[in-house]
Symmetry: C2
Subunit: 754 residues, 2 copies
């Protein structure tokens, strides 16, 4: 369970900073070099707190009513990565001397990142340096770093200057015209002091006025004397000592971060947490980390056999999802997790559609916290609905940190009303998978009702059909269309699901509480039901396929084969209007709709729809290939499914989109897990329970995964001959495999019939 890269290439520096970032859902720290890099080398040195943001007014040259007014951006927080190392008077740097050995590794069983180096200095002194880091899953405000230094062919002095920098700026790149050319400063230091060996710093964001604190302390073995100095926005501890050849010196650095969105007294709370943290050494924290992860892997143990690389990708995807997901009801999952500043650290629908299922079926407690984070945004979603002209209901922001809309181009931003359907689906599937009626009564029903009210206000009846005009579906190559199939289908499922939930709650005598809270009426429920039953779902009779929207199939088809490779992704080379005018998809949202909402859809339509849209889909979105993989498997094209799966699985590890340096593609991580479970495993959550249609690509020997559903932990193992189902914990349940209903009590084996 390791990701490992050997050797050092400065062109890969920023990408590796992403790949080896450490995070725990609250804190994230990129794998920047402790000792720094020379000026001019592309590096994004950053640490982040989930949901800790600064704001700025959005400027428009032509501003229309209701345009989003305030940007929110995740903040590059106080930097505690720095450790400047003098080895017998020579400064350690990977850019000087000789790197005899250089290896970066993320151990996902232990939750520890290491950088293992053997370095020969310009003067010929050889030293082994082992840097280790972890972002604690137990105490989420804690990062523990360590460096172990072992002279190989010399004895002498060692000096380590460990720093805490408040003079940080956001990512910038002189050579990339799409990025800022000057680093924007988003925090100002309020206090920088050193007391009893603790480097303490508080800072405040420039516009959003949010306070954060950072407290750092050290432990050295052998114990070294330290000098402390504060200058401007920098605190430093300078450790000096002597070391003998082949003996080791170890410095451990405890870094605690707190913020005012979670803590009433960030400074005091940070100091208290630090005291607790420093009582244990690195190995202790690593052990706790491993204990936590043992539990995690027990529930989330998906694996493939027959392809080590893919198995590592899959493991890393699950690990990174855990590392990215907020679990305090405030932080959600940013599209780059906590690994970078891409997309400003915003939360999108990706959470609900691509990542939530992983947590729902392996770790429902985190899934619940993700729902709570959305629930906390309800007031903002109501406000956003009003800005968009709706007198009633709630519309979730397309991209946001706190809940307010941050999209500066509404046609592929606020117009994506389907985010309401995604949020609703997360609440509904949570209820289905957990049966947690309490949460639905207290919180979930209100979210579902307010978002449903928006559909009623956005749509209207025409000619007996319920239509939803002027929205954008997930495919951003067609914006502001009428009756986007995906949107209408998700609204239909949302409305039906809500009606059904209310019937459940009524039966249980718990609907009244919901009615009191939301003002829901029987007439309203009737209207929901009628709209769902009358929902217009565009369909082309001639082609026998779902139509992406009212007009899509009448547009000119884009001949993708005639477009040279360097013109992809199309969005970087074609005006949006040109794309809107053509049948071309960044991702195919009809295919996605058939993935999410297959019940009632014929096999023929699913297959023909897949075939039609596949030819005009560019996969310029990182959300696309994993979906095509799953739907290729669904339609019996197993080898094609595997090919898509591989492309999706290596996206970040091989940097196939060329922007991994800006951060991971978190949704694709979800896709990587779903590709096994929903793709090859063929899992679907039907209204009457779990459905499987497993298959196995010939490139793999087999795969396995565990699922938590209605309190039971099930293990599914698939090899060339059969799919085996086993109840590991909890009661059994009914499952459907290849269309046959089984009562799964203990174990069940179903032959693979393809």
């Amino acid at each position: 369970m390791r990701i490992r890269f050997s050797g050092f290439d400065q062109k890969e520096l920023a990408r590796r900073e992403t790949l080896f970032h450490i995070a725990n859902g609250y804190l994230g720290m990129r794998a920047s070099f402790e000792e720094g890099v020379p000026a001019g080398v592309r590096s994004v040195r950053g640490s982040y707190i989930n949901g800790f943001y600064d704001s700025a007014p959005i400027h428009y040259e032509e501003k229309l009513y209701g345009f989003a007014q305030t940007q929110q951006s995740i903040v590059n927080i106080i930097d505690t990565q720095g450790m400047d190392i003098l080895l017998d008077g020579e400064r350690f740097s990977c850019f000087e001397g000789t790197l005899d050995h250089f290896e970066q590794e993320l151990d996902m069983r232990r939750g520890v990142y290491t950088r293992d180096i053997t370095w020969t200095s310009p003067k010929g002194k050889q030293t082994k340096l082992l840097f280790s880091r972890l972002a604690s899953f137990d105490v989420q405000q804690l990062i523990v770093m360590q460096v172990q230094i072992t002279p190989i062919n010399w004895s002498g002095s060692i000096q380590i200057t460990s720093s805490q920098h408040g003079d940080v700026v956001q990512d910038f790149d002189l050579h990339d015209p799409r990025k800022a050319s000057v680093g924007k400063k988003m925090i100002d230091v309020r206090e920088a002091v050193i007391r009893d060996g603790v480097l303490l710093m508080t800072a405040q964001t420039t516009q959003s006025d949010l306070v954060m604190a950072s407290a750092v302390t050290h432990r050295s073995v052998p114990q070294l004397p330290a000098e402390y100095q504060t200058a401007g926005e920098v605190n430093e501890a300078v450790f000096t000592g002597a070391v003998e050849k082949n003996e080791s010196l170890t410095l451990t650095k405890y870094c605690v971060f707190t913020d005012a969105r979670r803590f009433d007294h960030p400074k005091e709370d940070a100091l208290a947490l630090l005291e607790q943290a420093a009582a244990a050494d690195f190995a202790d924290w690593a052990q706790k980390q491993q204990d936590y992860l043992n539990q995690f892997w027990h529930h989330a143990g998906a694996s493939v056999t027959g392809d080590e690389g893919l198995n590592a990708s899959l493991t890393w995807s699950m690990y990174t999802l855990l590392a990215s997901a907020g679990r305090d009801g405030i932080g959600n999952i940013a599209s780059k997790g906590l690994s970078g500043e891409g997309y400003e650290g915003h939360y999108f629908w990706d959470t609900e559609i691509y990542m939530f299922p992983f947590f729902l079926l392996t770790n429902p407690e985190i899934a619940l916290q993700l729902l709570r984070s959305r629930a906390a945004m309800l007031p903002s979603a109501k406000e956003h609905a009003r800005e968009m002209g709706h007198q009633t209901g709630a519309l979730y922001a397309w991209r946001t940190i706190t809940g307010s809309e941050c999209s500066a181009y509404f046609p592929s931003g606020s117009a994506q009303y389907h985010i309401n359907g995604a949020v609703a689906r997360a609440f509904l599937t949570y209820y289905q998978a957990t049966g947690d009626a309490n949460f639905m009564v207290d919180t979930g029903a209100e979210i579902l009702i307010e978002t449903a009210r928006l559909w009623m206000d956005a749509g209207h009846f025409y000619d007996g059909q319920f239509r939803i005009d002027s929205v954008t579906g997930p495919d951003e190559y067609s914006c502001v269309v009428n009756n986007n199939y995906y949107t209408n289908r998700s609204a239909q499922d949302h409305l039906n699901g809500l009606v059904s939930l209310c019937a459940d709650l009524k039966k249980a005598g718990r609907l009244d509480a919901v009615i009191r809270k939301t003002g829901l009426t029987q007439e309203e429920l009737g209207a929901f039901q009628k709209a769902a039953a009358s929902m217009y779902l565009p369909f082309d009779e001639t082609l026998g396929i779902s139509a992406q929207d009212d007009a899509f199939l009448k547009k000119a088809r884009m001949d993708l084969d005639s477009i040279p490779e360097e013109k992809f992704p199309l969005l970087l080379h074609y005006h949006p209007l040109y794309l809107y005018r053509h049948q071309v998809c960044k991702q195919a949202d009809t295919v996605l709709a058939h993935f999410l909402y297959e019940e009632g859809e014929s096999e023929d339509v699913i297959r023909k729809t897949y075939d039609y849209y596949e030819e005009i889909t560019t996969h310029d979105s990182s959300l696309s290939e994993c979906m095509f993989s799953m739907m290729a498997a669904r339609t019996g094209q197993v080898e094609k499914a595997f090919s898509y799966y591989r492309a999706s699985a290596v996206l970040d590890l091989e940097d196939t989109h060329g922007n991994t340096a800006d951060g991971i593609h978190a949704a694709n991580m979800g896709g990587c897990w779903m590709g096994i479970v929903f793709g090859f495993g063929g899992l679907r959550l039907h209204h009457d329970g779990l459905v499987f249609r497993p298959c196995l690509p010939k490139e793999l020997e087999g795969y396995a995964f565990t699922l938590t559903y209605q309190g039971s932990l099930i293990k599914v193992t698939v090899d060339q001959t059969a799919a085996r189902f086993e109840v590991l914990e909890g009661a059994g349940l009914d499952i459907t495999v290849f269309g046959t209903r089984y009562v799964l009590k203990d174990k069940l084996s179903v032959p693979l019939n393809g």
Copy 2:
């Protein structure tokens, strides 16, 4: 032929600066007070050269490929309006002492603006001050200003400090959040000197690096000694003298402006022009002005009887059109003319659809210059087409000064492909009305072909019909739609007109020259013809009306009656997506299409279409009411037509849109003229000639207008009983009145049958 306002109210200052601006198609100067206004009083002190602009990069928070990159803005040029007046030691100001008399007047026969004041100073000294100005139609670089001062109850000293300011800034308003709160400086002074009594200044725009020059000299009667001073970016001439009670002192100020877009040596050329200008006195220049205007009014003599106010509006509209229209093949007509900085001084389709017809039918020489200005933009239009993804053809910029796209919101900017149809229509109707085949061979055909090629690339065949997807029609309350009726209809007319022109040129043996220049082929002409013949024009069979686009009539209808008055204009109170989702029109473009392209359309469809869209049109665009007036007249609703006409005619004079301070609504000026000629006069340019369906609203006694068509000058007079047609100059021609074809040789009278 006068516009006159008496009394002074500082709240009206900026509006009056617009109403009484002087202009001649090259220069414009707002009617700011020579003596200035106190700080904090809302005034937009400005002078402009048509098409003289500065540029700036356009910033987008979310920038997609092909978005317009560079803004262009008309520049507030060197300010020569200043004349600071000391009357026996007291500074003249309308904000102190007593205004016994205050009258502003634009004399449109003489082309002179005057401000006539009797003022009693705080110390009780009463003085008459008469300020006069003209922007010469003969020497377009010249503005002549004059002040005549006559003490009424005192004798004593007078001092006039006449200035030339280079430290000008663009309009700003501390109290309007939609405007800049700091005046942006767009020119830097390069040279400021005074030589032989000439105040000479050159300046350069900050980003576009365009040079302009201003040269000023004076003449005083009685001749006064002058002192000159230059300080920083200001040149001043200080005249001092004594005057007896009831005697007058007159200072004339000659102001010449030149720019590097027209002059190779702006400074030297300005000096030469100034020398010529100063050789004549104010009265001489006023006489030349009158001579020019006599000719103008002879050809553009539209008038109404029975409503003095409307007649003044009509006169002012024609006068202002003349004052606004560039006639050097470089300047075009900005949407605010030369009266202000609104819409950045950009040229839109307004020129071709709303203003060009006036020039075409009263002053074809200026019409030709407007076409030349568009022709000069062809390279930019080709480039713009490439930016928008088209491999062939030319797409005119939606808003521009030099030709490059300046729209920062493409859904109601670049997506308005119909501007190509508007430009084409101007060229085609010019050819029809003048028969100027030389121009078509040299220039016009190329424009028509390149813009036609764009339709072929933007549209495509589906199910035997030629469709144009993803464009925006004139109604900006529905953006990026498929098969906008107006757009498709105008493309059809464009393609047909081009094919017909080519047939003409072929007959005349002149098509080969066009083919050599443009690479036009027979196949291409055939494709144009086929696309036009197969053009898809959305029609609703049930309602029996033209459909604004494919989807419009299926959307939810907006109930305009339920919306409170303060929510209009809707664009200031509703998110665009909300408007896009509803049947609601800023202006109704089907109605406009039936105005421009009525041939082949049934009376029933025209009337039903009018009725349907009228109910959902807000007239939030200043282009709307004049069009509804004309089409109300066309559909026999004469009193309704009059009501719309009045609303349109007083738009600026009564400031009904509340933004006249930012500049006139030039297109509405064209609409005011068209409202008489095309509205009540019922004129249409059919392919076989002029067609009239005159009517007379009961509020008017009659109206008259003159037209130039195919070299003939015709006068049309309508009263309660008949429409009279008279050939004033040139040969006669065939006309159609109420469906009957007449040979008009000398005079013709047709009874009004309604």
